[in-house]
Symmetry: C2
Amino acid sequence: MKKLVFGVDIGGTNTAFGLVDEAGDIYAESVVPTKKFLYFDDYPAFVVELCESMRRLMDSLSFEFNLLGIGIGAPNGNFHKGTIEQPANLWKFKPDEPNKDESRRLFNLTADMGKYFPSIPILLTNDANAATIGEMVYGNAKGMKDFIMITLGTGLGSGFVANGEMIYGHDGFAGEFGHTTVEKHNGRKCGCGRTGCLETYVSATGIKRTVFELMSKMTEPSEMRDISYNDFDASMVSAAAAKGDPIALEAFRFTGEMLGRALADAVVITSPEAVFLFGGLAKAGKFLFEPTKWYMEENMLAVFKNKVKILPSGIEGKNAAILGSAALIWQTQKA
Amino acid sequence: MKKLVFGVDIGGTNTAFGLVDEAGDIYAESVVPTKKFLYFDDYPAFVVELCESMRRLMDSLSFEFNLLGIGIGAPNGNFHKGTIEQPANLWKFKPDEPNKDESRRLFNLTADMGKYFPSIPILLTNDANAATIGEMVYGNAKGMKDFIMITLGTGLGSGFVANGEMIYGHDGFAGEFGHTTVEKHNGRKCGCGRTGCLETYVSATGIKRTVFELMSKMTEPSEMRDISYNDFDASMVSAAAAKGDPIALEAFRFTGEMLGRALADAVVITSPEAVFLFGGLAKAGKFLFEPTKWYMEENMLAVFKNKVKILPSGIEGKNAAILGSAALIWQTQKA
């Protein structure tokens, strides 16, 4: 009988899920609007709607199959506990909530879903780790034992693989490379409450901040000067760079410098075979890859020079997140 | 029959080796003076003397035993290849050597020793990684799956363990945390040819450099002002700090700040249960541990706060290096 797994990607706007086979083919997929369940009290209803939607998707298939497991990628997902802990954009307290103790915002998602899917293995990790395992199972990291995945979205996520295994760490939260401090002095404010974190420079939001800083420092004309901060989207930097816009080109050079320097420091720890760049900003191609590679090599300890590849992800596209989450289960089948 | 392994620690001055059982008891030990074999051309004679001395040590035991393997810790040791590659203080070219191509300084030590110990497994890694495995097998990291070892000697060595396994990396050289860049601007010159590396601040040499910088910046009297740079030893800073010397206390505070900040950045990658401090400088105890812990927590991403212990090594003492190297073999017996 055909074997399938569920890949579930929980995002702040939508939760996408699909039934995936070992080759990475998606047989059916659907979406639950996460943003309908904005508040803390909405979480139980979210679990019900998600699980019932998943059941309906299973029923929609016209053939018999074995469901081997459910893999979930979620912000602040804890692999060891199967929980989502204090997510920034999910199930927040209502403004009038009397008890805003953040430690209550700990959601036992795998246990809660287990009631709807008894005896089905359910694994959960954060979205960047899910993408990392997706890269290992379906993407360009096939066969690699040591690599780093960098996911560039609103923030910077990462996954580190060593000895062929995902590094989850003692508490299940390893791989927060976006929060390595790259500017000790006068660094940008970060959503995490600290300053100078890598993701304040290297991410969709980071390059937008860089463009606005450069507009104040440089005098060159740029079509980006006609757009307000709130209307600005990181894809506009790629478009401007393609036309030779000097501010956009400098923004990419600077972004690559920050990422390349940070990678040179990460390489001394895990000595990877390759670093994969995934997500919207990585689509800028050479504008991002070239300065990143150059500054990484320029700052690299001699023993690691010219050894570490910087490569595009092999699982880009709208289904990358579902594939990555599904790969959580497929990976256990291979062990 | 009793089972023993050889632990071999290759240093620039001496190579120490001993016959060790699974409990970490050393049955016999001896030394070959590495510094007698200073130059590139002396390497073959070093191998002969080391192997013959090891044979004699085996013959000196009055009981029968099985030799299960030979574990070696060496500077620039490559675990995957069993080689020592371009070591800074071993087998250098003579000043009059006509061909100073550094790539020739690649020593196939496990293969060369294998001729004297046929069919005995021989494993080699760098000295910090050997200490790390020693901590795991014999020391305070027993049972830990995720931890970081920091070895403080002339430089700063490190070993990272994740999922219960040593991270050697793709090329076998992972764990060079001493060469993470902690000062982007005006950093101290490092022996690696770059500037601002962690070990230029946090190591026996690093704290000595700090003391001399502080003597220029501060006006307080200090008995350390009577000692020349060349006569100065890092242990003098501990002695002065114990007497309340303000320069020594500030030197430890600064050293702990640099180490604590760097550890906060390393924690986001591997999320360890504990960080072990090993080696001479770690003997300063609270003078080093307290500021390190304080600055690590101060700079820590919220999710990791108050989770990571900073602990002394459990394998300190003159035989730590032999035990660490022996543990390389014992670890494979447990898998």
